[in-house]
């Protein structure tokens, strides 16, 4: 399959959609207009002033230069790009839900009820006892979980300075631990791609606050020794943190709480199909076992049986807040609607189809997959080819390529996660794109992509000579 992205030409020359500023700017004298004294205002403001029809065309044309899950496969490993059911948008757009966060408890029983119900759904799915919805993204969830961990240790008088993280983990884990003030102990992967239990035993000790673990891990392998891993960490007095990025593989089939995890985050924009929106907003609720519930952010929502309604409350030893208000509300509503739509069987089937799809796709591609048995994602290796070049060539074949060159344990990795939403024919197209690109000539790979709105973009000069605004382009 060949895919051409939108392009416009004039006199045989390619013309890009201009910047809004290039369509004409206006300058307003602010001091003239303002009821404020001149010394409290800016002098003037210069911005584009397009008409609404021009705005509609501008953004429609821009959208035509953008790949999306509704356009075709988007198998970025660890990103879980699944279809975002349209009706969830309508549920979230309910004007009755659009209330200010400082409204009284009494006057917002509806929002509190939905928050409570979602907390309950997530607790059940993760095998956790309490859930906060406040973190606005996965990384914010990580920080929340690690701050809860830190508060727990401090409350019990334990001075622990290290967080242990497998080398194959998401970069956010390392950055999160550092943000929370911990030293990072990196755990090398075992030969089979999983946690090396002996290495773990050597790495944990009195200083260990937590082990952050993704399961299945970032090449799709289930950590079979999870019970032993949990024992090792717990025996050392540490807590076990679950990175929820790969929860899609386990829905209804395995719960972090049952595996010994104490604290976890959910990526609702991955697992629960809320749209990624070009990089956000997401939401990163955090679930914890009972012993940690008193440290969760405030406020939490619970039932108040006296008034047959819902109330906010502050956990006894709360870490405070991780978002100015209640988090990414609209995203949370969509996640509720998605979970309710699928129910038990749908969730479990989503995991089954996600795992089947990954296995089927891996079977159909000519690239080696060094580690298995994998679940919802696999890391193929481009071997002697450059994975990034193969990916660029795939762009010409009507698919988005997988995540490349990560995780590092697989050389020239192409980390692929088709999710449950692709059918057999779509997976066949995806496999064909893989195989055509992988087998293509060096020249073809170097020249790729050729059918996207832009050809290969020079990343080096973008970083060397940063131009980050249209103001910076003036005079060029």
């Amino acid at each position: 399959m060949i895919h051409d992205q939108a392009n416009y030409e004039r006199d045989g020359e390619e013309v890009r959609e201009p910047l809004l500023s290039e369509k004409g700017e206006e300058t307003v004298d602010v001091t003239d207009e303002s009821p404020l004294p001149d010394d409290l205002t800016r002098d003037e403001l210069t911005l584009p002033a397009p008409s609404e029809p021009e705005i509609a065309r501008h953004y429609t044309r821009l959208s035509q230069m953008n790949w999306a899950i509704d356009a075709g496969p988007y198998p970025l490993g660890s990103c879980t790009m699944k279809y975002n059911p349209k009706f969830t948008e309508d549920v979230a757009a309910d004007p009755n839900a659009a209330v200010h966060p400082d409204r009284s408890e009494r006057s917002t029983q509806g929002n509190l009820e939905l928050q409570y119900r979602l907390q309950e759904f997530l607790a059940e799915i993760g095998g956790m006892d309490a859930v906060t919805l406040q973190p606005p993204a996965g990384a914010a969830g990580e920080l929340t979980g690690i701050l809860v961990t830190k508060a727990y240790h401090e409350h019990h008088g334990n001075d622990r300075s290290e967080v242990v993280i497998p080398a194959s983990a998401h970069g956010t884990n390392f950055a999160t631990a550092a943000t929370a003030g911990y030293d990072v102990v990196e755990l090398p992967s075992g030969d089979d791609g999983r946690v090396d239990v002996e290495a773990l035993e050597a790495a944990v000790g009195d200083d260990t606050a937590a082990l952050m673990l993704t399961n299945p891990n970032t090449v799709g392998l289930f950590e079979r020794d999870i019970t032993e891993i949990a024992d090792i960490v717990h025996d050392a007095g540490g807590l076990l943190y679950y990175d929820g990025a790969n929860l899609n593989a386990l829905l209804g089939r395995g719960r972090p709480g049952d595996m010994g995890f104490d604290v976890m985050h959910y990526n609702v924009h991955k697992t629960f199909a809320t749209p990624h929106g070009g990089g956000g907003p997401g939401a990163g609720p955090v679930g914890v076992v009972d012993e940690l519930a008193e440290f969760l952010p405030a406020p939490q929502v619970r039932e108040n049986e006296n008034v047959s309604g819902y109330e906010r409350f502050e956990p006894d030893h709360t870490i405070g807040k991780v978002h100015g208000f209640t988090g990414n509300w609209l995203v949370l509503v969509k996640a509720y609607a998605y979970i309710a739509r699928l129910g038990d069987e749908g969730l479990s089937d989503a995991a089954a189809k996600a795992v089947l799809n990954a296995n089927y796709l891996a079977e159909r591609i000519d690239l080696d997959v060094p580690h298995g048995p994998f679940h919802h994602e696999f890391a193929a290796t481009a071997g002697e080819r450059d994975a990034a070049d193969v990916a660029k060539r795939m762009l010409d074949f009507g698919v988005h390529p997988p995540t490349t060159k990560w995780p590092e344990m697989v050389p020239e990795a192409m980390l692929t996660e088709p999710t449950e939403i692709e059918g057999q024919s779509s997976l066949d197209d995806l496999a064909e794109a893989f195989n055509l690109a992988y087998a293509d000539t060096d020249e073809a790979l170097d020249a790729a992509p050729g059918r996207t709105a832009a050809s290969r973009i020079d990343q080096v000069s973008a970083a060397r000579n940063p131009r980050l605004s249209w103001q910076a382009l003036d005079g060029e």
Binding site: Y59, M65, G282, D349, V355
Partner: protein, 439 residues
């Protein structure tokens, strides 16, 4: 068998795929040890679309229908329909972060334009393409201060009048960097610059001020605040919002090193606190910026093209040495803010901001005439909102106003706060009447 409605597999296809993989059923593909596998019921009943829409509509119907005069960091302005319709295009809404820029030029350009909007509003040359909200942006500013300031200090100074939740978030970011948050006094709703000058010393790494303040006051001595910070070699971080910035003093002109705040006042209707964090700074800190940056470059044909850039600052490359752990951000909300700003143009944006000043002054004058109420409490210019002193205890008055159909903030024993925007300006007669009624 009912499964997910969002997988297209027919039974025949599933069988063919299982056969291609070489297993009998899907269960055989799972490598979960039996002792940790889950074979219970989650107890979540699947529903149809129609049932869920009815269920959620019923749930949300339990919210009271109040006219909100609420702000304090979360502002509702009218969002034109074109913003919904364009941002809801699936090419935007259902796309991922632009890791393959060649096929993602549209969103990258939109984010580049959003950055440019913030550059114009702040006067600072660098703006990232979003943080989660104003509070987390402030937290990130503190960690940046910790990295870039050579002073041996660990104190972050914030105004005494600051939204409690914002300070709580800041404290969590400061916790990991071993920073301490302290407040400096305010005088009649503005920073007490003399007290601040007395406090700033070697131990201070950052001075934070807001314009407008959480009480809606315009800060009158921002440049002096900036000077105090500069003299103490502390980072001057200024908090604002995207509408106020259209008319208030340009942050760069008063010496701000970093601007944080809310951009969700454009593009996002009242959304229970969901936000869009601004982060802008001077060139000096370019390589210390948290979050994503879109830059202009060229493609192989020599045409201008956009790409995420300076990614070596970010967690997926730099891991524990990254400038922040942020990954997923608020990109789509930034797109919406940019579209909203485009519909307004500079004249519309300035008008909107000026109306926020005029409406606040007009409403304060009228409430001041209510017996038992004084407004505004602070003798300052205000944007959108202002404090009201009431002779009687404020909390019962807030409840009585709610019974009359109005929501206002109760911010002290005898203090209310009222916020007026284009969305509720046509209900001020009723609000004033309700005040008359309940006080």
């Amino acid at each position: 068998m009912s499964g997910t409605p969002y997988a297209p597999h027919t039974d025949d296809e599933t069988a063919a795929m299982l056969s291609a993989v070489g297993v009998d059923d899907e269960e055989a593909l799972f490598d979960i040890p039996p002792d940790v596998a889950f074979d219970g019921e989650l107890g979540i009943e699947p529903r149809t679309e129609r049932e869920i829409r009815a269920e959620c509509s019923r749930i949300f119907g339990r919210n009271d229908d109040l006219t909100e005069f609420l702000g304090r960091g979360h502002y509702g302005h009218y969002v034109p329909s074109v913003v919904d319709h364009l941002s809801d295009r699936a090419e935007f809404l259902t796309s991922y972060t632009q890791y393959q820029p060649e096929i993602s030029q549209g969103f990258l350009q939109a984010l580049f334009e959003y950055q440019s909007l913030l550059v114009e509003l702040t006067g600072l040359p660098v703006a990232n393409c979003s943080m989660y909200d104003a509070a987390t942006a402030l937290g990130e500013a503190a960690t940046l201060a910790d990295r870039v300031r050579s002073t041996s200090g660990d104190v972050v100074l914030v105004p005494g009048q600051l939204r409690e939740g914002k300070r709580a978030v800041l404290e969590n970011y400061c916790d990991g960097a071993d920073l301490t948050v302290e407040s400096y006094p305010t005088t009649d709703g503005n920073a007490d610059v003399d007290a601040l000058a007395d406090r700033v010393g070697d131990d201070v790494v950052m001075v934070y001020a807001e314009n407008p303040t959480v009480r809606g006051c315009v800060e009158e001595r921002l440049e002096a605040v900036g000077d105090v910070a500069a003299d103490g070699d502390a980072l001057f971080v200024l908090g604002s919002d995207v509408v106020s910035l259209a008319v208030l003093e340009e942050p760069a002109s008063v010496g701000a090193d970093v601007v944080v705040g809310e951009a969700s006042a454009l593009g996002l209707p009242t959304a229970y606190g969901m936000g869009l964090g601004i982060f802008a700074c001077s060139d000096e800190f370019l390589r210390q910026v948290p979050g994503r940056l879109v830059g202009a470059s060229e493609d192989a044909d020599g045409d201008r093209a956009f790409t995420l850039t300076l990614q070596t600052r970010e967690q997926h490359i730099r891991k524990e040495r990254a400038t922040s752990n942020i990954c997923t951000n608020q990109a789509w909300v930034a797109l919406r803010a940019a579209i909203h700003a485009a519909t307004l143009g500079p004249a519309g944006l300035v008008d909107l901001a000026n109306d926020c000043v005029r409406e606040a002054a007009a409403l304060a004058d009228r409430l001041d005439e209510v017996r038992g109420a004084t407004a505004p409490v602070h003798d300052r210019h205000h944007v959108r909102e202002f404090a009201v002193r009431v002779d009687q205890p404020a909390a019962p008055i807030g409840e009585d106003l709610e019974a009359e159909g109005f929501a206002v903030h109760v911010v002290g024993e005898h203090l209310l706060q009222v916020c007026v925007t284009d969305l509720n300006a046509d209900r001020t007669d009723e609000l004033v009447a309700a005040f008359d009624e309940v006080i």
